[in-house]
Symmetry: C2
Subunit: 352 residues, 2 copies
């Protein structure tokens, strides 16, 4: 049983692009607990450690490519062993697995953790439980974002339900949440993180997610996107379309007859255009579903956002544009770890 | 004044991938009329010819890349001259221009047609007027499509309004039409034809739209798309997600560390995946808007579809899937010429 009363972010001690630990000051009982969320692209791990003599303990957050599952599992095994050193040796650790891979790789996990019970938990259920944990228990976790204002942290709302979760992993799942255990997957799209990384790995030399995002910071999408102004020579005022609006993503690329050399387009510009394309599209589909179901608050989770300012700004802008300011886009520091955090819930002790 | 009573498709005489002429049996008055619809990628031309001694005349449909506007204009000038030979020499021809380019290239058009009046018409208005002409006047023009049933031609509905037009050009415009002149652009997306052609020209060796579509016929998207079954190892029954459903478009492409060689993926497979991605997305956004506005019939127009079976099947499937069969996707033989046909409307004589 883990006690999360007073749970809070640890002071920032590590590189800022890493996910902050969460300090559990009132956790006294020794536990050995690891949760693993195996997604289509990324596997996320949340584990608990304590240091003898120091009160409480910490939840740690780490991830690796699902393609490197074997090495990842070795890592988890090491974590388990270290975790056990600092706890009672006779304490049996728990491994909780969720995400699609929890089913597909179950046998592999059993072989990797001989003699250790592995509990499978449903992906969507874990997402919601993890999200509610972060929203309700962790101060300065949830924020809205815009380029102009930066991060604005959000108090836990009195009336949390109903809300929408848009979980952006390799693909996108859109869930409507009406109560602690009440949710339904109302929609989704196959244009997600996997689409951005897949196309960028074909179109640029970037070797990692973060390299791709870094490149997009320096790009100008107007070199590849066809804008309203490129077609009309001005705003299309009658329809309220500004000349700066993207009419066609990648609409400037195709020229009949000429074989296009990729090098004739800069990787930075392509990255920016693709990032806008995917983020705008997710924002539009999220808005249309929120509209259909009368939801006013949209939480964005999943491994796609990675705290990337351009991504968050684009999602916020799309929601604000389509909803005319009536629907709010909200983000989380631990956006990628909702499922893994939810998977350790059984050991959470909620304050009454 | 053109008389469209009894207007019908000409017998198929030309290559089947060309757009069928429309025969106007009751058009007796000689006219010289050309309409030009200048879009972001394609320019569409509709013009009328008659043969002395033969009753009536024909509307012809042709198009060229907007990048080749100068050559295109030469073509139009030749058409004008031929058209005039067969008509009274003193007859002043009309040129009607629409589409975004009508504004941007207006001066160019005036120089190309010295002494000939060029009328500009609003793009969206022409789209609707052209669509209504095809729906209401041309038998065997409108059809629904599925791989299983093929083309099923549709009678002109008694209660035509309200309906939705999804016009897929370089980008996508979604219009709600509530009466002959009553329409509003309710939505759109930048993921349209220009996006498909642009990305395919970067990712494959295809040199033309039709070559790209041809390639996609022979491709298997499962080599690049991540399916539900690739993540879960089976259906995700609890959520009703079949293992064959695309979870992430291009989700199989990115592998950390390895630099992906494009040649490690077949152009055919990439084309199929991109075509599915764009068509599914348009179908989903069209459905969500139709739902929001209570529209039951969706007409798909624009230069993107080109009578391509996989494209029409994907759009139909998406609409049917999301609406659970409550909303119908409808297509037109002259899908790409709605705006150009609408631009010649001033000379149409509607039967009372």
């Amino acid at each position: 049983m883990m006690n999360i009363i007073g749970a809070r972010l640890s002071p920032e001690t590590r590189a800022s692009n890493e996910t902050r630990d969460i300090y559990l000051p009132n956790q006294t009982e020794q536990v050995s607990q690891i949760a693993i969320d195996i997604g289509g692209s990324l596997t996320k791990v949340v584990y608990y450690t304590s240091t003898p003599g120091i009160q409480g303990g910490k939840l740690h957050f780490t991830r690796f490519e699902t393609d490197c599952l074997d090495n990842g599992i070795e890592l988890v095994v090491r974590l388990l062993q270290e975790s056990q050193k600092s706890t009672r040796p006779n304490l049996t650790p728990h491994v909780v697995a969720t995400g699609g891979g929890a089913h597909m790789y179950y046998e592999k996990l059993k072989r990797a953790f001989p003699g250790i019970p592995i509990r499978k938990e449903d992906e969507m259920e874990c997402l919601i439980i993890g999200l509610n944990f972060f929203i309700q228990q962790i101060p300065r976790e949830v924020f809205s974002y815009s380029e102009a204002t930066g991060m604005c942290f959000e108090e836990t709302p009195k009336d949390l339900y109903p809300y929408m979760l848009v979980n952006i992993g390799s693909g996108v799942s859109i869930l409507k949440v009406t109560g602690p255990g009440d949710y339904v997957r109302i929609s989704g799209t196959s244009l997600g993180g996997g689409t951005l990384w897949g196309l960028l790995s074909l179109l640029t030399d970037a070797k990692s997610f973060d390299e791709m995002l870094e490149m997009s910071q320096h790009g100008d999408n107007r070199n590849v996107d066809l804008l309203v102004g490129d077609i009309y020579g001005s705003d299309y005022s009658k329809l309220g379309l500004k000349s700066s609006k993207i009419a066609s993503s990648f609409g400037k690329v195709f020229r009949k007859g000429e074989k296009i050399e990729q090098k004739s387009f800069k990787s930075e510009d392509i990255s920016r255009s693709l990032l806008y394309m995917i983020s705008n599209n997710i924002g539009q589909i999220a808005y249309l579903n929120a509209q259909q179901h009368g939801l006013k608050r949209i939480y964005f989770g999943g491994g796609f956002i990675r705290g990337h300012p351009v991504t968050m700004n684009t999602l916020s802008y799309a929601i604000n544009f389509w909803s005319q300011g009536n629907i709010r886009a909200l983000f989380l520091r631990h956006e990628g770890y909702l499922g893994a955090a939810g998977a350790v819930r059984m050991t959470f002790h909620y304050p009454q």
